[in-house]
């Protein structure tokens, strides 16, 4: 059996990649992708722990979270679409009229 630490390590790496992307990317779609990465990192954890604990709850939880991630992506895309329609860009740097 693969030690649990490896799963955790993997998910931590993926989570960090997501974080890094979130902080550095300027494109709205890439931001969405980064978020998906982070959610999936958590899902890996859940599933790994589920199997490690011999308890199905984690896997159920992962399914839920996948569904939620899909919803989230849908809404995110909808917002980005609306912005694109209005401004012709989804570059986040151009979206900062609300500040201070």
């Amino acid at each position: 059996m693969i030690p649990i630490e490896l799963y955790i390590g993997l998910s931590a790496i993926i989570f960090s990649i997501g974080l890094y992307g979130l902080m550095t990317q300027r494109n709205g779609i890439r931001i969405l992708m980064s978020v998906e990465l982070m959610l999936n990192a958590a899902n890996i954890n859940l599933v790994a722990f589920s199997s490690y604990n011999a308890d199905l709850t984690g896997q159920v939880f992962a399914l839920y979270s996948i569904a939620l991630a899909a919803c989230e992506a849908a809404i995110g895309f909808a917002i980005l679409m609306a912005i694109f329609k209005m401004k012709g860009t989804i570059n986040l740097d151009s979206i900062n009229i609300l500040r201070w």
Binding site: L22, R26, D93, N96, L98, R99
Partner: protein
């Protein structure tokens, strides 16, 4: 229906007259003058009757007290001391009011005048009648306010308004000392009763105060390393009040300026209702003074010094009223001296001093009213523009010369022939001699005798410059109406004869004022506490009895030679190059020192502006704090850049920092 029961009416009637005249005077002829005149006349009658009763039975004083608030009371006390004062004040005030009928007849604000003079009189009568020190202080302050209102009667004149303010503030310095004395006295008495005052004991009533003098004297305070008895502090503070009110050095500066009011007001202030209050206060609390080591000496020395100090300035003044004002200061100095000599002659000093006070009231009122009459006719107060007024105003001239003789103190020692001033002033000077002889302190005597010379000199300078010689300007003028001359004549009679007739009886009557059924003070015992050795009149050498008369005559002679016959050319002496003249003419530069430098520069500009700077500082601090917060807000706003990545970064940084922080804190704990 004993008249004693109506003693309370003495101040109340004029006070009522004030209210009536104030509200209804305008609608009555002469500004409603009849109301205060009638009221004061009634008060005079009551006072006179009470005085006569007291003369018969000096022990049966009038005393009534009511609880006021806390352990304080209001009440009246008519003992011999108060009785003679009451009679004098009502009498002189009555005459001045009658005189004012003519003098103020052209003034539009007559009713206000009569209302305020009535209140002035009422306050003074209230002061005299007080049976406790607090009530005395209250009336004392009311007197000050009335003087403020009356000196500033013509308030549209800036000089009058300024003089009024100066009078009030200068006397207020004294008042604060007086109040401080009361506060200390109260505290001591409170301590003596241990905070539990029995019902019916009014802590500031004179009988209570006098009966606790030894205990107060036993309390000591350390001031600048010296052990000082509380009784000394209290009496000196009281004396501070008297110094302000009675125009003693150095708080006399207001009195010459107080001439800005109508002349009748000056007469009231100088003769009856104000400046005598200080002397009265010291006389009233004499048992405390005599128990206070060195207090009486301060009184004596300061009195003598003021007597001569003011007299020197009187010589060079050209304003007729100013000469009289300095004369008042000088004479008040005599009265204080007379009281101070109580260190040697005990309670007799009260009699001597009060006698001079009464006589002085007569002749000083007369002098002022005469001067008013002259000013009324001539239209100026500058003596250099007068001359030969006697021809135009014979009655005024005659009465004023009588007054001058009284002030100069002319009379024949050993007889009852003499002006009133002669008897009282000589008594003071002779007592000063006794004081010198018994204590070895001769300075008061020397000062008083020199002051007598100067007194005679300045008053006859005034007479000669005003009434004799040729008219120096074309003033036109006429004798005053009867309402003015009749009071003059009456006062002249008193100035001439009262002294001789009353001298024997008066002194014993007033000197026994602390021995009756209200208070029973053993002056001799108290003098022991104060460390004074009471002596008695010995047989003074003849020269001592005659010396005052000789110096007075010498003064008259000099004045006659210089101002009457012009033997000496004054122009050389009276020049701005003569430093002594300059010093005197500028009144020792007190105005510059006290008013311009101390009051304006130090207190007003210096301290109050410093205070203002500090206050700006506090305000700035508050403003700075609020600005700081606002500016912080402005800077912190900048964190909210509007770029969503920065927000994400903030979240992630926050998470990392929190993890570290918690770890660190948990380690530390």
């Amino acid at each position: 229906m004993a008249v004693e029961n109506y003693a309370f009416l003495i101040p109340l009637l004029p006070a009522l007259a004030f209210v009536l005249t104030f509200f209804f005077g305008k609608k009555l002829p002469n500004g409603g003058a009849i109301i205060p005149i009638a009221a004061i006349a009634t008060s005079f009658v009551i006072s006179l009757l009470i005085t006569l009763n007291l003369l018969a039975n000096p022990e049966e004083v009038v005393s009534q007290s009511f609880s006021w608030f806390a352990m304080l009371n209001i009440g009246i006390l008519v003992d011999p001391l108060a009785a003679v004062m009451l009679t004098m004040v009502t009498f002189v005030s009555l005459l001045i009011h009658i005189y004012s009928l003519g003098y103020m007849s052209h003034d539009k604000a007559q009713s206000r005048y009569f209302a305020e003079t009535a209140l002035f009189t009422a306050s003074m009568l209230g002061l005299i009648l007080s049976d406790n020190i607090l009530q005395l202080f209250i009336c004392w302050e009311l007197v000050g306010v009335c003087s403020f209102l009356l000196i500033g009667f013509w308030f549209q004149k800036p000089s009058a308004a300024t003089a009024a303010k100066k009078a009030f503030l200068t006397t207020r310095i004294g008042d604060v000392m007086f109040l401080s004395g009361i506060v200390l006295l109260f505290t001591d008495l409170f301590k003596i009763y241990n905070g539990a005052i029995p019902d019916g004991v009014y802590i500031l009533r004179f009988d209570v105060i006098f009966s606790h003098i030894p205990e107060i004297a036993a309390m000591n305070a350390t001031i600048f390393g010296m052990e000082v008895s509380h009784i000394t502090i209290i009496t000196l503070l009281f004396f501070g009040g008297a110094v302000g009110k009675s125009g003693q050095f150095p708080l006399h500066v207001w009195l010459p300026d107080a001439m800005e009011g109508p002349t009748t007001v000056s007469a009231l202030i100088h003769a009856a209702t104000m400046v005598t209050a200080g002397v009265y206060l010291v006389a009233r609390t004499f048992p405390m003074f005599i128990a206070a080591p060195s207090s009486l000496l301060v009184v004596a020395y300061l009195g003598a010094f003021t007597a001569i100090f003011a007299a020197t300035m009187g010589i060079v003044m050209n304003d007729i009223k100013r000469v009289l004002a300095y004369s008042t200061i000088s004479q008040l100095g005599y009265m204080m001296l007379g009281l101070g000599i109580g260190a040697t002659i005990g309670a007799e000093a009260v009699g001597i001093s009060l006698f001079h006070l009464i006589n002085h009231a007569f002749f000083k009122a007369l002098l002022f009213l005469c001067a008013g009459s002259v000013i009324h006719a001539v239209g100026t107060q500058d003596m250099r523009q007068m001359g030969g007024v006697a021809k135009v105003m014979p009655i005024t001239a005659a009465t004023m010369i009588i007054a001058a003789l009284a002030l100069g103190g002319f009379g024949i020692p050993g007889t009852i022939i003499g002006t009133s001033g002669f008897f009282s002033k000589d008594a003071i000077i002779e007592s000063a001699y006794v004081f010198g002889a018994s204590s070895g302190m001769w300075i008061p005597y020397v000062l008083s005798i020199v002051a007598a010379l100067l007194t005679s000199l300045y008053i006859f300078r005034l007479i000669f410059m005003t009434f004799f010689g040729k008219a120096r300007t074309d003033y036109g003028g006429h004798e005053s109406p009867a309402t003015m001359t009749i009071p003059l004549s009456i006062l002249a009679l008193f100035a001439l004869f009262f002294g001789g007739l009353a001298t024997e009886r008066f002194n014993t009557f007033v000197s026994d004022t602390f021995m009756n059924d209200f208070v029973h003070v053993n002056i001799a015992e108290l003098a022991e506490i104060g460390g004074y050795h009471l002596g008695h009149h010995g047989h003074e050498p003849l020269i001592i009895l005659w010396l005052p008369l000789i110096v007075a005559a010498a003064g008259l002679l000099i004045a006659a030679l210089v101002y009457g016959m012009k033997v000496v050319n004054m122009d050389r002496l009276v020049s701005r190059n003569n430093p002594i003249y300059k010093l005197l003419y500028n009144r020792y530069y007190q105005n510059e020192l006290f008013t311009n430098f101390f009051s304006v520069k130090v207190v007003y500009e210096g301290l109050s502006y410093a205070g203002r700077a500090i206050d700006t500082g506090f305000d700035w601090l508050v403003g700075w704090l609020s600005d700081l917060v606002l500016e912080t807000g402005e800077s912190l706003r900048q964190f909210q850049t509007g770029a969503v990545q920065n927000y994400a970064t903030a979240v992630i940084t926050g998470v990392s920092l929190l993890i570290i922080l918690i770890k660190v804190v948990m380690e530390v704990l």
